[in-house]
Amino acid sequence: MKDIVIPAARIKKEIAAVLISLIIAFLINVYSIIKYQTSWVELFSQIGYVVFIAIIIYIISVVLRALIYIAKKVFVKKL
């Protein structure tokens, strides 16, 4: 079986995407605490929700990037 080789640049890119997703999810939590006037303890207590939202954002980013990649390929071939 042939090994799948993921280049270091790719890994770095994905880690960055995960981190950005986590930061966005974290900021959403901060925003909702302010908007609904709830306790700042939720910064920690709602970490499960934050991770869950981060995963969704990451998945959306993967899908978006894949779509962009495919679109680019089709576009470039046509030229």
């Binding site: 959403i28 909702s32 908007k35 609904y36 939720e42």
Partner: protein
């Protein structure tokens, strides 16, 4: 209201555990146990009580008395009733508790022959005044069941006799000794509910309010079912509402300025004279209204006194306090946001425009006023009475609460009968 009895000592210990002692320190019944000197009877002297009227309530008072009688050094020296079967049943209760009281059929014999320290009067309403006034004339303290009397003049005469004789008059409004009420009233008077705009009180039952007659013999009808006849009772008003108007006045720390009302015999058309369906509005000087109703052909809503302020509501009978702030929003912010987004995405568009939101009742379950609500308020009241007798006096505020509740109950009856909004006549103001 009468629940499992805990002795005062147990109850106080439990209060100490839940930290409520401080708030109850100012209460009339804890005040009764303070260390002020005994001007009436010494702590080692037996307090002798007589029960006049040994019907359902009289026997209930007896049973409750025996729950603390030996601890409080109290005895039942005599019983009085003009209906032999009731007297025998009461005597039986005493015998079971190792007490052998004298028995009489005329209350004047209680006064002249037994000479107790105090009497507990639980006769039908129209009989309260005569016995109370005669006891005061003989220097005997009186615990008289609510309502005080059948007529306004008799009520005033009882109060005057109490003042003239300097004897104790405690009216059977046991809620005045109920820790749920004491704690709740403290909060209301401290402003926790904000401005009280309205008190809603009701008492609903679904039964004919009749007691069975011995051998179904109609000759006992008026003796047994006295509360159904206007000569003896104002029906739901004196029997039930009097308790609740007392609570309303206590909560607002004032008496009403006027009352209007209407009533009917709607369901139990069986020859009774008192209404089975009543509705009244009591107005207070500051604009507060107490809206009252009572009926005996539906029991879904039971009984309640709802004290409604702009910051919260207290419902005494169910021991609950509610806040006007929407305490149902307790979910973490992020979850609320997700649910809001979900609602926005999936909810149907409103048909009648965005502003049409029906004002349904708040679903909030509220909080208990006090945790430990297993007690008998009547037993606490009787224990306090014994201590009042030892001290030789009771707080005048207690007597006034009973007096004003009785007067306003009877004015309610007059308002219904005349179809007019009535104020308190000058001569009944104390």
């Amino acid at each position: 209201m009468n629940k499992i009895y805990q002795s005062r000592r147990d109850f106080l210990r439990n209060l100490a555990i839940t930290g409520s002692v401080a708030t109850l320190a100012a209460s009339p019944w804890l005040g009764a146990f303070s260390n002020t000197p005994f001007k009436g009877k010494g702590p080692n002297d037996k307090v002798r009580l007589s029960v006049i009227g040994t019907g359902i309530r009289g026997r209930q008072l007896l049973r409750l008395l025996f729950t603390f009688a030996s601890e409080a050094n109290v005895t039942v020296s005599s019983l009085c009733d003009n209906f032999a079967p009731h007297l025998e049943e009461a005597l039986e209760i005493c015998h079971l508790n190792g007490v052998k009281p004298k028995t009489y059929t005329d209350y004047r014999d209680v006064i002249e022959k037994d000479k107790p320290d105090a009497v507990l009067i639980a006769t039908p309403l129209h009989e309260h005044a005569r016995a109370t006034i005669d006891c005061f004339s003989a220097g005997i303290h009186v615990f008289c069941e609510k309502s005080m009397a059948r007529t306004l003049d008799d009520t005033r005469a009882m109060y005057d006799a109490h003042i003239a004789s300097n004897r104790i008059l405690v009216v059977g409004h046991q809620r005045l000794f109920n820790p749920v009420y004491l704690e709740g009233m403290q909060r209301i008077h401290n402003g926790e509910l904000g401005t009280i705009g309205q008190i809603r009180a009701y008492w609903h039952r679904n039964n004919d309010w009749r007691r069975p007659l011995p051998n179904n013999d109609m000759k006992f009808e008026r003796q047994i079912n006295w509360r159904l006849y206007k000569e003896y009772s104002a029906g739901l008003l004196t029997e039930l509402m009097s308790h609740q108007i007392q609570v309303a006045n206590w909560a607002l720390q004032q008496s009403p300025v006027s009352v209007m009302g209407t009533a009917s015999i709607r369901f139990w058309r069986d020859g009774r004279e008192v209404h089975d369906n009543v509705a009244l509005i009591y107005s207070y000087a500051d604009g507060t209204k107490c809206i009252y109703d009572s009926m005996i052909s539906n029991k879904k809503y039971g009984l309640e006194e709802q004290i409604m302020g702009h910051l919260g509501t207290i419902e005494f009978e169910t021991n609950r306090q509610y806040s006007e702030k929407d305490e149902s929003i307790k979910a973490p912010g992020i979850q609320q946001m997700i649910s809001d987004i979900e609602n926005k995405v999936f909810d149907k568009l409103p048909i009648g425009g965005a502003s049409w939101v029906p004002e349904i009742a708040v679903g909030d379950q509220g909080k208990k006023i006090i945790e430990n609500d297993q007690f008998s308020d009547t037993a606490l009241q009787l224990e306090a009475l014994v201590n009042f007798i030892r001290k030789g006096s009771a707080p005048e505020k207690l007597t006034k609460e009973g007096y004003n509740a009785s007067i306003w109950t009877l004015l309610g009856e007059n308002a219904i009968d005349t179809g007019q909004e009535l104020k308190m006549p000058e001569k009944y103001i104390i």
